[in-house]
């Protein structure tokens, strides 16, 4: 059987002023009818670029296709008029539905646009078709959704709307570029299910671009692994995951958090010790809207959270976006003011002895942030950043600072000569290591890490998690690790705290919570993690909340 889409020997180069760099190097891969092909690789591997080249949408004029063919049902489309193919025969959806939906046009009109352009439908016929499509992608009230704007919907619903828009033209192929990366796990599970249903119902062929092997293991038929512009391995999902041939694929499989049981979380023996952090009935509310002479509404981000952390513990705080986990971190760091309750750090209350508590916090607790590039001052070199912290902290004598910087860089596994580089010239992983080095420069006893691996590629994630594990074991650091990724928390933390709508709904040893969650929400959260084992199917991704959301 000839494949529906046949990419042969496709090469793309970047032509700069005096250099030429290959970005795609002789890619050959096919996509059969009704097949889901997973395109896996880390950032910069060329997986998105491949799809853009197929669509004739190269992101820069400096990029040129230098060789190879792309055939759609035997017809060469590389040099064809893409207007008749783009959208009509190959549809595309993106990572961030918010920025790819027109904010001032109703969802329905955006679907009708495609219907009019490609299928000549207009008026009531287009409307009927659009409402039908909205129903197919899972909108509970398609007619109401038709006349709503994108901002009325949650991220998952927006992604559904994007899929409906792409489907409007009845494409034969759907290219989905990281469609679930920006979504919570339970929503991710729903969207992946939707894609599979659409394949079954409409015979749609799908190219699913993702960095998460778990996602492809759950949804795809075949997997293509890309690295540095080359296709390193293509194969049937089970065969490839069971026996990866290429060393890079083996590394990817090994880095996947759901499998990498590199050891149990570090143990500690400070059970009887005085709690380091004692959070009592903490409440935080933010004013929402309101304004001059208008009453403010309050958003209650934390609704009475109590938590105590003993020295040497590694605590994972998990929850979906909006659950209040970042607010909790910022409040116990004294960066956000609490509106009720209290945080006691090392015996000092942040409410009644704020100055003393802040002083202790600043010298003993350090933070690591989510976006590695954004969390370092772009105008300072790594060395300057570390030197500033050391000088400010004042424990290191002035002439000992360069040596201490070297030590810190060694500790986080960075080359010493990177001290002279600015964040922009470092990779994401290097930046995050620099961020950890800055946290360690304080010589802290506690590190609060807020989603600090979420923006990193899986292999880098695994390295950073290993670094944290090592630091926790060797230096007895207390770790508060905030993440939405439960698999990472399970590997790194001995205790897990689950947050939902500003409350702690579950708190216990990781092994216990993951094996026997006491709350339905926690169970749904765990079931929604895409496992790398294709035979452990994805949960439905439905929590009570999602059902509520679907119903409204």
């Amino acid at each position: 059987m000839t494949p529906l889409l046949d990419i042969a020997n496709l090469s793309v180069v970047f032509r700069g002023e005096n250099e030429e760099r290959p970005l795609l190097d002789g890619i050959t891969v096919g996509l059969g009818r009704g097949e889901i092909l997973g395109l896996v690789g880390e950032s910069g591997s060329g997986k998105s670029l491949l799809c853009r080249a197929v669509m004739g949408l190269l992101p820069s004029r400096r990029l040129h296709v230098t060789g190879g063919t792309v055939r759609l049902q035997g017809q060469d489309i590389l040099n064809a008029d893409m207007g008749a193919i783009r959208g009509r025969r190959i549809g595309m959806i993106f990572q961030n539905p918010t920025s790819h939906l027109d904010p001032v046009m109703t969802v329905g009109r955006q679907i009708c646009e495609g219907l009019g352009q490609h299928r000549g439908l207009s008026g009531p016929a287009a409307r009927a078709e659009a409402v039908d499509l909205l129903g197919q992608v899972g909108f509970p009230d398609p007619a109401a959704a038709f006349s709503s704007h994108a901002h009325r919907f949650s991220g998952g619903m927006r992604q559904r709307a994007m899929i409906a828009i792409a489907l409007a033209c009845e494409p034969e192929i759907l290219i989905a570029d990281e469609p679930t990366t920006a979504l919570d796990v339970t929503i991710q599970a729903q969207i992946l299910r939707l894609l599979m249903e659409l394949r079954d119902r409409r015979g749609l062929s799908i190219i699913l671009i993702t960095h998460d092997l778990g996602v492809v293991a759950q949804t795809c038929d075949r997997i293509a692994v890309m690295r540095r512009g080359q296709l390193v391995e293509v194969g049937e999902k089970r065969a490839l995951l069971a026996a990866p041939a290429h060393p890079y694929t083996r590394q990817l499989v090994a880095s996947h958090p759901s499998l990498s049981h590199a050891g149990d979380p570090p143990r500690h023996d400070g059970d009887g010790a005085q709690p380091l952090f004692d959070v009592r009935g903490l409440e935080v509310a933010f004013p929402l809207g309101g304004g001059f002479l208008r009453p403010k509404r309050m958003l209650r981000a934390l609704k009475g959270v109590s938590l105590s952390v003993r020295p040497g513990e590694t605590v994972g705080i998990v929850g979906e976006s909006g659950s209040g986990k970042s607010t909790l971190a910022r409040t116990i760091m004294g960066l956000t003011r609490a509106t009720g309750g209290d945080v006691v750090f090392a015996g000092r209350s942040l409410m009644s002895e704020r100055a003393a508590a802040m002083k202790a916090l600043r010298s003993d607790v350090a933070m690591v942030f989510q976006d590695p590039f954004n969390s370092l001052n772009p105008r300072m070199t790594v060395g300057q950043t570390l030197a500033e912290v050391l000088r400010n902290q004042g424990e290191t004598p002035r002439d000992g600072i360069p040596a201490r910087i070297g030590e810190l860089l060694d500790m986080v596994g960075l080359e010493r000569d990177l001290a002279d580089r600015r964040p922009r010239s470092l990779s994401g992983g290097q930046c995050q290591r620099a961020g950890i080095a800055r946290a360690l420069a304080v010589n802290p006893s506690v590190i609060v890490a807020d989603e600090c691996v979420a923006a990193l590629d899986v292999t880098i994630q695994a390295q950073i998690v290993a670094l944290f594990r090592e630091l926790a074991e060797r230096q007895g650091l207390t770790l508060l690790f905030i993440a939405h990724d439960l698999a990472i928390v399970r590997n790194l933390c001995e205790r897990v705290v689950v947050m939902h709508h500003g409350e702690i709904i579950e708190d216990g040893p990781s092994t216990e919570v993951f094996a026997r969650p006491t709350r339905a929400y926690t169970a749904a959260l765990i079931a929604a993690i895409p496992d790398i084992d294709p035979d452990r199917p994805l949960g439905r991704g439905e929590t009570n909340d999602n059902r509520e959301e679907l119903a409204t």
């Binding site: 600043r362 969390s375 500033e388 902290q393 961020g435």
Partner: protein, 280 residues
Amino acid sequence: MSLLSLSLPLRARIGRRPMLAMGLAILGGFVALALLAPLIAPFDPILQDAGAKLLPPSWDHPFGTDNFGRDVFSRVLWGTRIDLQIAVLGVVFPFLIGTGVGTVAGFFGGWVDAVLMRVIDVVLAFPFLVLMLSIIAILGPGLASFYIAMALVGWVSYARLIRAQILVLKSQDFAVAAASLGFSRLRIMFRHLLPNALAGSLVFVMSDAVLVLLNGASISYLGLGVQPPVAEWGVMVAEAQGFISQAWWITLFPGLAIVTLAFGFSLTGDALADLMGVHE
């Protein structure tokens, strides 16, 4: 500090940017002329010669002479000193004040921000020139008054520009990181936030210099800035307006000088915007 840290890549890139090279060449040319004025100028700029009134351009007087018999070429050359000074000083004080106020307003927010922003609204509520003129009228005519008036009126645009930048920057992770490391507010404001906020203002400085230059010329034209017989381009245009039908050269050459210098500033400004835009 921000300019310094940029200087290396800047130097490397100037060659590849004809706009920037040309703008800098024009500005450099004017600076050279200002410095060398005593050596180049063939005549004393304020020396009157009753026998050489209103002479058209010739070999002796390349730009002709004015109604007092003064050499227009020499006056334009000497005028470069005053006009460059106006462009630089007229921008520096507003820039410094505006940057300070904008940083404080953006960083502290709340009532500090509200108060400072209302002050800015008050300044903006008056037409720019009217406000300038009333301040100069109170202080008495002269260049010093002009600089003071500029500083009092011109800072608002810088303050708004910087405040907007600081508002964005202060919620970024590196600023939160600095706070979580216990750095002082001053340090966070001026060491972490400000250097990252300056790029936009530095570009604006260039286009603002053009406006200040034209303002200076207008104020002098109205008789409130530089006083005769000192050679300044705006004064020269003003003085010669009565003779424009008989002696076009007296107004044309200082006018051309103003336009050329302004062009140099705006070329440099545009090219810098380009460069920093790429950089950000």
